[in-house]
Amino acid sequence: MSALPLLDYQRYGRQMILDGIGFPGQVKLRKASVAVVGAGGLGCPALQYLCAAGIGRIGIIDHDRVELSNLQRQILHTEETIGLHKAESAARALKSMNSDVLLDVQTVAVVADNARELLAPYDILLDCTDNVPTRYLLSDTAVALGKPLVSGAAQKFEGQLSVFNYGANGPCYRCLYPTPPPRETVGSCAELGIFGVVTGTIGNLQALETIKIILGLHDETPALLIFSALGTPPFRSIKLRSKKESCLACGKSPRIPSSTDYVQFCGGPAPDWVSLGQSSGKANQRAKVEELRQAIESGVELSIIDVRPPTEFGICQLPGSRNIPLKALLEDPKKCIDSGTEPVYVVCRLGNDSQIAAKALRSQIEGEITVKDVIGGLQAWSKEIDPSFPIY
């Protein structure tokens, strides 16, 4: 009597003949259920390999929609699915790859109110999210539900991977990070940048750790895997502390109320840099892009200082603008002003750093030079003045 459909022997034969998997292993995978929270850079590759390996049931949880800027790394989404929910888009791709797998599409955000209910049906949870509050919420929920949490993270050229709340003494995320980092030290992928193969590498490894747990091939040693794409060697594994008795979530006397406001706990919501860059500011201190256009076209002498990092300046720049990165400018604002008297316009990508720079310049200038920074930055320039100017 076979517990597997006949075609599964063909589909999964290459992995079923491996010692450690075999027929019982394939049955375990088929009976397993996992929840992947976040169908982005980490979630897509993790989902892809979990589904291909024949996990029986997969929950895909993401409330975001697919954007063009996702396609560089979120490899299940396509040009055709831009605008769709990521969970839906990912499910379409998985369905065409392995129609046997039961997919639960959840287009809601995981929050304290719904986390336990959403995640309770699954054996293993994958943290493929992109923000600190959700990482604490998922860890606390994994502890409350008694499930392992396979946690991945990536930024720039680096990635990190850990399995939390697993094994006899495995730590949770809070054991490792009892206090969230200061808000200002936390950037997003849009601000810091992220390379597709880096999320791909970590997402694949999350699928691997998950499958090892299902098959009973995981050694349960608490570890943090650090991946530096440009480092030699690129991988190193760090032996981690075990569960902390004093941990508020998994320690001797747990006391995390289920009504915790995770966003406040982590220092409040992420700043909306686009809106902040569009504030009108004090009179005559900020210029609209239209004012800059007129100033350029009038032919008067003027100085445009672009305070973005050199790499971003190299992507696109206003003709005649000078690149003085914010940090360099703040070190010696006086040096950045020519001896002339022409007005100075400061620009950046969205209009936030330019405010800081313009303020520093004004504080140093004696005399008649006007210093303004450009509201909404180069993104506003592209949207309102020159649609051929790249937005990145």
């Binding site: 980092p181 943090l224 530096s228």
Partner: protein, 119 residues
């Protein structure tokens, strides 16, 4: 008096606080002032100051005082590394090694790494 030569590495964005360097070598005397001062004078062999074996807590202060190129609060809070930074001693979580009390040994490899959040 013996010197310690330490390989100190930064990752996860912490390198941005140290002139974008990923790896540096730090030379410290095996005995450092009990008052945690980090200036050249205090580190001289013939200083009259009371001494203690150099430990990880001292290294954190030394890095802050001597090599940090950004605001101190991005690295240190309440005399130790700020939340969100993991410290690793020879590929082991410093919590397993006594945290700041760990006494440094010659050729130790110390890593300061920021937790990543993106995905």
């Amino acid at each position: 008096m013996s010197q310690l030569s330490l390989k100190v590495e930064f990752g996860g964005g912490i390198e941005l606080l140290f002139s974008k360097k990923h790896t540096i070598t730090v030379e410290l005397p095996a005995l450092v002032p009990t008052d945690d001062s980090t200036d050249d004078q205090s580190l001289m062999e013939d200083t009259a100051k009371e001494k203690k074996p150099a430990n990880l807590a001292y290294l954190v202060l030394y890095l802050r005082d001597r090599l940090l190129t950004e605001r101190a609060e991005l690295f240190v809070e309440n005399g130790t590394v700020r939340p969100g930074i993991l410290v690793l001693v020879n590929d082991t979580d410093w919590q397993l090694e006594g945290e700041g009390d760990y006494e440094l040994k010659d050729k130790d490899n110390i890593v300061f790494i920021s937790t990543l959040h993106g995905g």
